[in-house]
Amino acid sequence: MMLASIIMAAEPAASHAASAGVDWSAVMAFVLDLLTVAGLAGGLFFVLAGSVGVIRLPDFYTRLHAAGMTDTLGAELILIALMLQADGWQMVAKLALVGFFLFVTSPTATHAVAHAAWKAGEKPKLGRWKAAPLEDET
């Protein structure tokens, strides 16, 4: 968002510099697009990793760990990447608000779910992960 405002402020200077042979506004747009692609890729990696973790991990608290931590970071990365593509400060402000509320409420909700589950007697799996016991060990 800071980058976008800097670019908007630098617009006349960029067109002035175009006579020197380098179109700086196009270069900055290209850099912004690259940053957007990088942010989207990173955020989607975290979001997908969290989803796979929620499917695959063995007990409730590990699933909560996977979902709660990756959702916050992935959402922030994706929203910042979208902010770099936004035109106009209103869009940037709205995306920043969405990011702020997600940043505050997502860990709070995760903590509330964990606390309620612990109060209700949900037990974590402790110790090293073990294979299913053999028939004669039961």
């Binding site: 979001v47 929620v54 969405v98 509330a112 309620a116 949900e122």
Partner: protein
Amino acid sequence: MDMVMPYVMLAAAMFLLVSMVLMLARLIGGPSLYDRLLAVNSFGTKTVLFLCVFCFIINRPDGVDIALLYALMNFIATIAVLKYFNYRALSVDLRDVSNLPHPPTTDERL
């Protein structure tokens, strides 16, 4: 680069849809109530992200308002459902702790 960006957004939306489907699988098959709640909460977060990306795809900035509203409602709904399943009522005054009904144990819960 203007040619490439819409496809990047489309790919991001499709990846978000995939992760939403994974969350739905945990929501349907979750063994305990709290797994389902976790899945609903995470599904809501991914819905907010999908709405933001979708606004950029269809080039209408209005949808970000809906995403903002959905982010807040998702949090409030999670807290309300947690309170309901802990105290079996939404009108419990949490300030007088002595009158609180006992939270359900592991055997009683859904």
